[in-house]
């Protein structure tokens, strides 16, 4: 007999959940149930599809100013990646430290890089063969682009990180392959930082168990760093980088 991990009573909540007719606490509880039960997710997808049919024909064109507002928003710096200028902090220290760290590891990197080229090729194949995740496919495409730069951040001593790959183009649009990072406690998060000239800016709060994440930062990237912060991320980090890469290393 198959073990049921949920009761019919708790599964019955799925209809109300699809209608957004549950309270916040029940919503969170049910979403945990959804995470572990593919059959419930499939049923939910059917209900969303049903509801989209129910309201078919209600289409009404929005006023032009709605698109104008969206266009203005996306033309502005990307809020999703939390791109905010940081308060002045010892960026030079990061960079000096990076030079020292990477300089000391140069001999090792020379050997490892050859291996990583092969690994990246494998990664593209792996991403393209996986589930049809639009972000993964876009990231795979970026990895294959001849115009993209691939940065491999090296873990700093004591960080328990081997390496993290970032691919980005000349406009500062890129992807971080955070799925190779060790999972943190729920109260912590990885945060990606971009070093551009004299500024260190947050390029995204990656979560405690990151996946592949897109980001956009200003062009003229001089380096990237990843720190471990409290959940939610910070505007200005006081922590040492857990992984780092610089152009001039």
């Amino acid at each position: 007999m198959t073990t049921r991990f949920f009761t019919e009573d708790s599964a019955d909540l799925i209809g109300a959940y699809a209608l957004d007719a549950v309270e916040a606490a029940e919503r969170e509880q049910f979403e945990r149930l959804l995470e572990s039960h593919a059959e419930l997710r499939a049923e939910l997808d059917e209900y969303y599809d049903t509801l989209s049919m129910l309201v078919a024909g209600f289409e009404e064109s929005p006023p032009d100013h709605v698109w104008e507002a969206i266009a203005a928003h996306i033309a502005a710096p990307d809020e999703s990646t939390n791109v905010v200028p940081l308060k002045p902090r010892p960026k030079a220290a990061w960079r000096d430290r990076a030079v020292v760290l990477l300089g000391a590891a140069a001999a090792v990197l020379a050997l490892v890089l050859g291996v990583r080229v092969v690994q990246l090729g494998d990664r593209v194949a792996e991403l393209e063969a996986g589930a049809p995740d639009p972000v993964a496919l876009a990231a795979a495409s970026a990895l294959e682009s001849s115009e993209a730069t691939v940065a491999v951040l090296s873990g700093t001593p004591g960080s328990n990180i081997d390496a993290v790959t970032i691919v980005f183009d000349q406009d500062g649009i890129g992807f971080v392959f955070g799925d190779t990072l060790p999972e943190l406690a729920a109260a912590e998060t990885y945060q990606l930082w971009a070093i551009t000239g004299d500024a260190v800016i947050s390029a995204g709060v990656l979560g405690s168990a990151p996946g592949i994440a897109p980001f956009q930062v200003a062009d003229g990237i001089d380096g990237f760093a990843i720190t471990v912060e409290q959940a939610g991320g910070v505007v200005s980090s006081e922590n040492d980088p857990a992984a780092i890469w610089t152009v001039d290393a």
Binding site: Y48, M53, E68, H73, I173, P214
Partner: protein
């Protein structure tokens, strides 16, 4: 699709592109791909928000928010789990319900008078009558029993939680929960048969 007039105009590069590929392009920060997604689906999103909220300014706000969220978090859409349209409509419904509840709470505080479903929620039948596909939707709704129809109406179009629906209808919460689930299962067949799933 009956999108009618929409801004921005169609970009030929994307008009034949599947929704999944379009969102993959959005993930690379391609603005014209988002424009195409907006051209295809903004009328559905806005239309639903407009009907639910009965307030054009709130509907503007919801539509803007839904597409900005698509731009910021394209990975939330999984083409393996359904269409982009149903994903965006689910998002729009959730946000609209948040606004309905916030507005109801505000009015309750201001007027010291709880707002009942009758003055906030459009009903399924009146929406169906107004819709261009009204006959198909009416047929599908006719497959529901009156108690099922009322429960879906109050929850989906009225923005009530199932517990509030139970209170309004004077029935046990568990009964309403099951009834909504059964109603959604029952609606699916007739709606699919009418070809509305290809909308």
């Amino acid at each position: 699709m009956t999108n009618g007039k929409a801004s921005p105009p169609a970009d030929r590069r994307w008009t034949e592109t599947a929704d999944g590929d379009l969102i993959a392009a959005v993930a690379t920060r391609n603005e014209s791909a988002l424009e195409e997604a907006y051209r295809r689906h903004s009328s559905s999103v806005y239309g639903l928000a407009r009907r639910l909220l009965r307030n054009p300014e709130f509907a503007d706000e919801v539509t803007q928010e839904i597409f900005v969220r698509l731009w910021n978090r394209p990975e939330r859409f999984d083409p393996g789990r359904g269409t982009l349209r149903s994903f965006l409509l689910a998002d729009a419904h959730g946000r609209s319900v948040d606004l309905i509840r916030a507005e109801t709470a505000r009015r309750t505080r201001e007027e010291k008078d709880a707002v009942t479903s009758s003055d906030t929620a459009p009903d399924v039948e009146s929406l169906a009558i107004a819709a261009t596909v009204s006959a198909k939707v009416r047929d599908a709704v006719a497959a529901l029993s009156e108690p099922e129809r009322k429960a879906v109406e109050l929850a989906y179009f009225g923005g009530h939680t199932y517990k509030q629906v139970a209170e309004i209808l004077g029935e046990p919460e568990g009964t309403i929960k099951s009834r909504i689930r059964v109603a959604l299962k029952r609606l699916r067949g007739p709606l699919t048969q009418t070809g509305l799933d290809e909308t």
